[in-house]
Symmetry: C2
Subunit: 278 residues, 2 copies
Amino acid sequence: MSLKVAFQGVHGAYSEQAIRQHFGDDVQTVPCPLLGDVFDAIHRQRVDLAVLPVENALAGAVSQAYELLMDSDLLIQAEIILHVHHSLLAPAGTTFQDVKRVQSHPQALAQCESYLRRHNFEAVPKYDTAGSARELAGTLEQGTAAIASKLAGELYGLTALDHDIEDVKFNFTRFFVLGHDAPERGEYNKTSLVFATRNRPSALYDCLGEFASRGLNLTKIESRPRRNRPWEPVFFLDFEGYWQDAACQEVLAKLLFRASFVKMLGSYPAVRNDSVGI
Amino acid sequence: MSLKVAFQGVHGAYSEQAIRQHFGDDVQTVPCPLLGDVFDAIHRQRVDLAVLPVENALAGAVSQAYELLMDSDLLIQAEIILHVHHSLLAPAGTTFQDVKRVQSHPQALAQCESYLRRHNFEAVPKYDTAGSARELAGTLEQGTAAIASKLAGELYGLTALDHDIEDVKFNFTRFFVLGHDAPERGEYNKTSLVFATRNRPSALYDCLGEFASRGLNLTKIESRPRRNRPWEPVFFLDFEGYWQDAACQEVLAKLLFRASFVKMLGSYPAVRNDSVGI
C-alpha cells in the first residue's frame, strides 16, 4: 500500500510537485484546503506524512507553517528543495496573442511582474496558483491565462504557452516532510529546533557558543516574535548534524540548561547546498 | 510645506495608517501601486520619505522589502509599530445579515478565517485590503463586504459592520521610515545592518561576540539566502544603540574586519518593546 502524503492546496500545487520530486510516483497525494487541515489530517492519522513549505528564497519564511510546527508534536522526516518554475497556461486553442488577463496567487503574479508588464497582461488575483489553473479549465474563459506549475497544466488539460516566466531565476522553496516518528540517519543530516533564551544580556550569544565551540555549523537562524508576547523572540535554528552524534547530544543537553525552553523539531536527512544545481 | 511620504497601496492602506500614527495629519501621503514604485518615488526625490512594512508579528518578514533595502542607499529614519485591526466594511444600507461574500487580500482573509467561517461568509481574494474597500465603494455590490482598516471605511464612505474581527489579537506590523540622510539620536535607538560572514566555521558566532562582549543587545536576527547564491546566507541584524555611541563605533569597526561585507541600513529612534501596549 502506497504512502499517503498531505499537502495544502489543490492538485498541481508546488507542494505536490515537491512530494513527486522526493517520493516519486508511488505515493498517494492528499490535497487539503488550509494549512491547518494538513496538520489535522496527519494528527488524525488520515495520512502517513505531510509536506509543508517553510522557506522561499524570494518570499521569506512561511510564517504560519512555523506557528503550526510550534503547536504540534510532529517531527521533521526530511527536507526537500524545489526549484520553482512558473508556466503560462491557457485553454486549448488560445494563442499567446489572444491573452489579455493572467490569473494566479498574488505572490506568483508578483514573481512574474516584469513579464506581465512587458506583454501588457492584466493581473487578476486568485487564491492559489494551481487553483487558478483548475478554475480556468472549468470556465475556459477566452483571453485568460493562469500562472501555475507545469504539473497543473498537465492535470487540468491546459496548454503551456510559455515556460519559466518568473522574473528572478533563483526561486527555490524549502519544504519539510512531517511525520510521527524520528527518522533514521541519512548521509547528510540537519537538526532543527526552536528555543527561547533566558532574559539576560548575551543569552543568545552564549547559546550559540555551545554550537560554535563544538564546530557544529548553523545553516539557519531566525528570531521571531512570540505570539502572545511579540518582540520577546523565539529562535528557529538549523544546524548540521544528527541527534545521535556525540557533539549533538552534548549541545542539546547544554542548551537545555541555558534556554528557557527548547523544542525539538527534528533531526533528519537533508539536502546539501551544493547539490541543488546552483 | 508639509512632508511628502510615499507608501505602497491605495489610500486607506495599513501603511498609510502607520504614517498617520507616526507623523500626525500634517503630511501628504503619496500612494504607489508597487513596492518598487515607492523606492522609485524617493530615489527620484518626488517624495521626502517612504514608509515600508518590514515585519508582521503573524506573517513574518516582508521579504521583498528587505531585498529592495539591500539594493538601495536609503537610510532608516525611524521605526513604527502599528497594532493592526481589521474592520468589516459594507455599502450604506447593507446590514450584517445581508452579507454573503467578503473580499480582501488573501492574508487579511486568512487572519479572519475563523470569523468568516463562523458567519458562513464566502471569502473572495483581492489585490489588497484598502483596494478591496475602494472597489466595493465603486460597485456598491449587494451582499458583499470588504476587510480593511477603519480608515479605509471612512475614506470610501463604507459602513463598518464590525470591528477587530481578526482571529488573533496580537497582530502588530513593524514599519521603517526611509530617507536620504542619517537621523538625529532619539531617546531610545536601534541600529540595523546586513552582513555576510566569511566562509569559516563559527564565523557568525565570532561576529555576534563583538556585540555580546560590549553588552549591545540584539533585538532581531534573521539569516536569509543570498539572491544569487541561495543557502549562502546574509544576516539581518538589529541592535540597541546609536552609531555615535563609543560601543557602537567599536563594534562596527570590528565587524568590518570579521565580515565579508557590511551594509548599514540605519541608526534611528526606535519604539521600546514595552511601550506598544502589550
